[in-house]
Symmetry: C2
Subunit: 248 residues, 2 copies
Amino acid sequence: MAVAKKKEGEESGAEAPSLWERMERPAPAPRTSLTLERIAAAAVEIADEEGGAAVTMRRLATKLGVAPMAAYRHVNGKDDLWALMIDRVSRELTVPDGATDWRDVLRSYALQTRELMLAHPWMAVMPTPVITLTPSRMAVAERQLAALAVCGLDADSVMAAFRAVTSFVHGSAQSEIAVREYQERHGWTSGDETRRALAPQMVYLMSTGRYPAYEQYALSAARKDDRAWEFAFGLDCVLDGIARRLGI
Amino acid sequence: MAVAKKKEGEESGAEAPSLWERMERPAPAPRTSLTLERIAAAAVEIADEEGGAAVTMRRLATKLGVAPMAAYRHVNGKDDLWALMIDRVSRELTVPDGATDWRDVLRSYALQTRELMLAHPWMAVMPTPVITLTPSRMAVAERQLAALAVCGLDADSVMAAFRAVTSFVHGSAQSEIAVREYQERHGWTSGDETRRALAPQMVYLMSTGRYPAYEQYALSAARKDDRAWEFAFGLDCVLDGIARRLGI
DNA sequence: CTTCAGTGCGTACAACGTACACAGCGATGT
DNA sequence: ACATCGCTGTGTACGTTGTACGCACTGAAG
C-alpha cells in the first residue's frame, strides 16, 4: 500500500529486497535461531564492551545477525532485557560451600557483588530494576537469609539485616562506578591525575572557607584512592551492627 | 534555503510565523527571561508531577514558554540539568542547629535524605550523577564530616564512615522507590494487595523447595510493609559499626 | 497435502537530544 | 547620537531511539 514511497538507492541490494535477490539466499534459514540464552549473552557482551548505553534493540539485533524487531518475540521490551542481563551475570556469584557463619556468607557475597558490578559497570546504570527477582538473585538472597535465620533473629530483622547489607553494597558500588566513569570521561587515569586536574576548583572551594572539614581530609588523608579498603570499612560497620543485634 | 519544504497547516498561526503575525506580538519581549533558577524550578516541577522520564528538553521548554533549544544557553546538556535539579531539592536538607553529636547529625541527614528521595522519586532514577558535587551537597557533606572529625578518627576513616552511611541511604531509598514504582505500575495500592497479586508466582516458587528461608520470612514476618522501620534498622547498624570504631 | 502456531522481517512513527545558523536586544565605546 | 558587539532566544534539521503492526516463512501436526 505504501510501498511506492521508497526511493531507489544507488547501492547494490540493501535498499531493494527484490525477488531476484532473495532467490540468491542460500536457504531460508532454519528458524528458532534466537533463544533467551543467546539474547542475554549478546546483550551482556555489548554492554561489557561498549557500555550500557550501547545496548540498543537495534545494536542487539545486529550482533545477533537478525532484524531489529526479532528479539521482541522473546522479550517484552527493554526492561525484560535488563532483567535477563542482570540474571545472567549474577550467576557468577557463588559462596564457598564451607562458609557457614552468617558473617562469612554475607561478607563474601558483598565483596563478590562489588567485584561483579565493577566488572559490569552497566549494572549500576540500570533504571529501577535493581530489585528484579531473577532466579539467580533469588538464590543469592536465599543463601544469605538462611545464614542469618539460624542466628535466632526474628524474621523481620533477618530481612532488614540482609537488605541493609545489600543496600550498602549497591550504593557503594554505584558511587564507585560513577566516580570511575567520570574520570574515564575526562581521560584521567589515576587519582593523582584527577586531583591535579581538579586542583583549581578545589583551591577556589577551599578559599571560601566553607569546607574546613573537607579541607582537612584533602590535606591529611592517606588512602584517598583505596576504594577497596573503604568498601571493606563500610561493610564491616554494617556487619558489626548486625552482629551486635545477634548478641555478638 | 529549505523553507519551501514546509506544508501549510490549517491552524491559525503556529505554522506560519509571518511578518504580520510577528507584528502583532505586544513587544519583542525583554531578554534574560531564563535563569538557572527558573530552569531548575521548572524541571523539578515536571519531574515531581510527571516523573523523571518526563523531563525532556522539549517539555521543559514548553513549561518555560520558550523554544526547545533556549535552555541550552544556560545548561550544557541533560547532565547539567540533572545536577541542577539535584542541587535544588537538596537545599531542603537541614540539620537542627542544636545537634552536635556526630550520631545525631548523621542520623538526621540520613532520615531526611530518605524522605527527600521518596518525595522526589526521580532522584533514584538518575544516570550516574549521584555523586555530582553541587553546592548544597557539598554543604551537607561538610556538616557530616565535621561532626565525625571531632571524634578522633583518622581522616580516611572519617570519609569512609561518611560514605558508608551515604551509600546505605542511597541504596536503601533507591530500592524502596523501585518497589513502590513497581507497585504503582501494576496499580497495587498496598502491600497486601501486592502480595495477593503475586501469590500464584510465590506459591510456585515455594513449591520448588529451593527457598525455605524466604518462605519462613513470608510466613512469619510481621513488618513486611514497614519500610521506615527497616530503614532505621539498617541505619542504626551502620551507625553502631561506626560508633564501635570511635571507641563507643 | 493442508493447516497452524510460532518465529523472524520490514516498514513506519513519534519522540528524543542536540548541532548550527540566525535574529533581536542591551550595553558599550566613540 | 550612533555603530558595534556579545549575549540570549529561535527555527530548522538530523540521526537515533523504542516499539506497534502486519506480513512471510517455517516445521510439525492433522
